[in-house]
């Protein structure tokens, strides 16, 4: 793994930690959903970099699935909020 890929992975991991802080602290449920969506997008980016690092093109399928799951989770949470589900912020 080259130095540049290591730098990229390290920076993205630091970013994931920042998002996790917001996920725990977020004052309301929509804030946490936004943090989760960013989390899944960043994981898709990390998987792309790992695909380069390990020369494994198949990992891109995992990135597609990751982005899809984040989108579905956001839509589900938004529907839940709009229908007025019980919340415990």
């Amino acid at each position: 793994m080259s130095t540049l890929l290591s730098i990229c992975l390290f920076a993205l991991t630091v970013g994931l930690c920042l998002v996790l802080v917001r996920l725990f602290r977020g004052p309301s449920l929509p804030d946490r959903v936004v943090a989760l969506e960013l989390f899944s997008t960043m994981v898709a980016g990390i998987i792309g970099i790992l695909a380069i690092a390990y020369e494994e093109a198949l990992l891109l399928d995992v990135a597609i699935v990751m982005a899809l799951m984040g989108f579905m989770a956001t839509i589900g949470f938004a529907r839940f909020l709009e229908q007025g589900g019980r919340r415990n912020d």
């Binding site: 890929l5 730098i7 997008t41």
Partner: protein, 135 residues
């Protein structure tokens, strides 16, 4: 040359994603946080995927990487719209420095109905039917 371009794309994508993460941590309320995450993260993952496509350079892999870009660009605005709408409905608090909330005077949170201030007499009689009383 190609490798240099690929390295640049990866670094730029990483930088944009780091900025998005920093923004979601540091910005004061829901809408500003969404403003950081949707645009910067979409651009970041798009740049990284372009770098991946450039690295492998085979038809199938390029198609898949561009598929990720296309998919993220298609879904991120929809997800942002939906979660922003839900956040406004449940009344998440705006930042204390917010200058103007254009939606507030025109929006009825109980019926989810917007006023346009262009209501004529005919519209007004049509827009105040029994359905409003029922809800």
């Amino acid at each position: 040359m190609t490798e240099l371009l690929e390295d640049g794309l990866l670094l730029a994508g990483t930088a944009f994603m780091l900025v998005a993460a920093l923004g979601v941590l540091r910005l004061p309320d829901l809408l500003t946080r969404m403003h950081a995450t949707t645009k910067a993260a979409t651009l970041g993952v798009s740049l990284i995927m372009l770098g991946v496509a450039l690295h492998f350079g085979q038809g199938g892999v390029v198609a898949r990487a561009l598929g990720v870009v296309f998919f993220v660009m298609l879904t991120a605005p929809v997800a942002a719209h939906v979660i922003g709408r839900a956040g406004y409905f449940v009344g998440s608090r705006l930042w204390s420095g917010t200058v103007k909330d254009e939606l507030k005077p025109n929006y009825d949170p109980y019926t989810h109905r917007l006023k346009s201030h262009l209501e004529t007499e005919a519209n007004a009689t049509r827009l105040t039917p029994e359905s409003d009383d029922a809800s």
